[in-house]
Assembly symmetry: C2
Homo-oligomer: 425 residues x 2
């Protein structure tokens, strides 16, 4: 298809009129659709049917160390759950803490501790002055909300093909007030891209001026391939060990998109120093996390292979959803210079860069036609996309028929907005 | 029996020798017993056998509002869980947030927020100077650990028969740096006593100098009667409403000792202002708590009456344990002026005041004979019991036969320590 940059004003006006007609037809459908949330659809939730029956009177409540999971005790997780997450993270069980159901909560607590109490013997950030945090963009709005909540100044770091712009990162960490960086290193939210080995090595080898600088390594999608054509991520703990820099990273993951969001199990992996430091706080913070739910998960999935088999079932449901959206983007926008989008091999999102200044307009057009998408700006700190061009599409929740409609509408709106812009409307 | 104050030195020496013989015999048994933790025994854990089977493929996953509890969404709890806790607290469901499995974690988060971010628009405590917290003593070590963690200066407030010394409290809250007070108002940990209506009214009517002063109302034992002979606690929310002072209190409870410790459900009750303030933080902090576990609990217990029926079953198991310890205390120490103890109608503990300076000695004697009890000083801030006399006995975990042994040994040790003290040894 022709690039809009090659069309005459008259041709653009004509095309806009066509699109407007198509758009109006959509508005008349009275749609109420949602492509905003990275949440599993009903078709995904039903893929672990026996999970909730794994712990009861018949099967018993004992962890493998003989501990009754129904009682108080064990702060950092039952041994078999630590082992399972250790295998997921690629670390030793000693480097794992198994938590409650929300990895975001574990991340919030980590930042909250660094802010209010200090980590590993360092001064609390609240007492160190105006601390800053590096935010690869586009990124995950919930990460940005946590650092914004604690008043940390967020610095945008552009994502390149291989991950964050490392020259910039290496320069920024010379500032002792730069305290950390959010990373979704695999199938990133929202781009779906995976950091290259070189990026991981450079991150693992960072020598920040701040002793309490931490990579917040949110490996939420480490198992979330869409097919057998998979990305691989270098193990950052191995890379950090090679350069004697193991304290620089704290990693998080959860089974939110393996079993059930909100009722899964979340975990932390970190160096011995960081684990000991986190446990010191946890001893005061809680009487411990839900060990019955840990036992349930281990009994159902058994081991890493069991989890991988589950992820294959889920990929079979997710793949057609991604394919639907990507097909429509290609068919309707390919070659038009109206948008660029990612083609992820895993994760939960497709990231679309529209023409500059078009994201807010497209989100509004969509909303007016009855389809909610993640708001413009959401993928940037302070909800400020400097070019107002990025939108995140989340194909996981709606059924394929709905995605056909939503994605078609999205393409119409994207082209409309680009032409409007071009015409100075 | 004769008071040790009426015995001659020779009689005391003779009695001490007898006790030493008894004590030595205990040591030779090679005991490994534990009367330290307020945790349910195996006999209590088996009282909710079907709870974990309440939510599965057969029964379905939908909350009463049609929401699939297996997915993201609903920050403050499913409606039926809010209703159940509202009935427990005696408030409206709008005044309830249902959390994860640990009420201690909810309390920690509340204090952490007040410290680092400020509550209800007030300056964070960390920026207000050396803040202080009132601690009724003896009290719960985990409360004290939270306030100590955040560097709040803890001020002891003696517990009288009707609750904390209110004249003292009313005086102390004139200091704008006094920011709150820990309260276990019913069947308190460790005394087992319940605040009188007058105490609750005076607390509800407090006019502290600090706008961000809060009563941390840990109603952990609100349903935990030992028999039909029950204490009643005035509803502090009603009392506060009468004097237009509803923001002064934030209340917490959990099913840790109703269903399963660590795998139960915890909740907060508070005024509309406080609830809105807490939710603002929670929006950033977590993707939400385990709704499947909430649903499980509501389906199993159904309503407040269901919970009360469960607590009756538990009382039947707990009562003989308490009776065993109290009988031995009476039989072996009654009239000797060696110790005074509480005779609670609910809760999980018996509090013993030994002769001054004897608590550490008794805990050591017990430990040397193979029986762990809660450490001396644990019931006071900074682990400093100014008179070194209070010990907490926890009869819930061991079976009755073990309690016979442990409590007998305790009585021997208490009398030994008192006589040693008297003799200046």
């Amino acid at each position: 298809m022709a690039s809009i940059n090659e069309l005459s004003v008259a041709a653009l006006e004509a095309r806009l009129a066509e699109l407007q007609t198509e758009y109006n037809a959509f508005c008349e459908k009275g749609l109420h659709l949602d492509m905003s949330r990275g949440k599993p659809g009903a078709d995904l939730l039903k893929l672990a049917p026996g999970l909730l029956d794994c712990v009861n009177e018949q099967s018993g409540y004992l962890a493998e160390n003989g501990f009754d999971t129904r009682n108080y005790g064990i702060l950092d997780g039952i041994p078999e759950a630590k082992k399972l997450f250790a295998d997921i993270f690629g670390v030793s069980p000693d480097n794992v803490i198994v938590g409650g159901s929300s990895s975001l909560n574990l991340m919030f607590d980590y930042i909250a501790t660094a802010y209010a109490k200090g980590i590993c013997g360092n001064e609390p950030w609240v007492k160190q002055g105006a601390c800053k945090f590096l935010c690869p963009v586009p990124g995950y709005d919930r990460h940005f909300a946590v650092t914004e909540y604690f008043g940390l100044e967020m610095i945008n770091v552009p994502l390149k093909d291989g991950g964050p712009d490392m020259d910039l990162v290496e320069d920024l960490v010379k500032d002792p007030l730069v305290k950390g960086m959010w990373c979704v290193p695999m199938y990133a939210n929202p781009t779906g891209l995976t950091y290259t080995d070189e990026t991981v090595r450079r991150l693992a080898a960072l020598k920040p001026a701040a002793a309490d600088f931490r990579l917040m390594w949110d490996n939420a999608y480490c198992l979330h391939h869409l097919s057998d054509d998979q990305d691989t991520l270098l193990n950052i703990f191995d890379a950090a060990k090679e350069v004697n820099n193991e304290d620089i990273v704290v990693s998080f993951t959860s089974t939110s998109k393996v079993s059930f969001p909100g009722s899964g199990v979340a975990a932390i992996a970190a160096s011995a120093n960081n684990i000991a430091d986190i446990k010191k706080r946890m001893t005061v913070q809680t009487i411990g996390f839900d060990k019955i739910n840990m036992l349930r998960h281990v009994r159902y999935f058994k081991n890493l292979d069991g989890i991988k088999a589950q992820m294959k079932l889920r990929a079979d449901v997710l793949r057609p959803k991604f394919e639907t959206v990507l097909r429509l983007l290609n068919e309707r926008l390919g070659g038009k210079d109206v948008a660029a989008w990612t083609n992820p091999r895993g994760g939960y999102f497709i990231s679309v860069d529209l023409c500059d200044g078009c994201a807010t307009r497209v989100a509004t057009l969509m909303k007016d036609a009855g389809v909610v998408i993640t708001g413009a700006g959401a993928t940037f700190p302070y909800h400020k996309d400097p070019r107002d061009r990025n939108l995140r599409l989340a194909p996981s929740y709606p059924p394929v028929e709905e995605l056909e409609l939503s994605a078609t509408l999205f393409c119409i709106c994207a082209e409309m907005a680009a032409i409007e812009k071009k015409l100075g409307k």
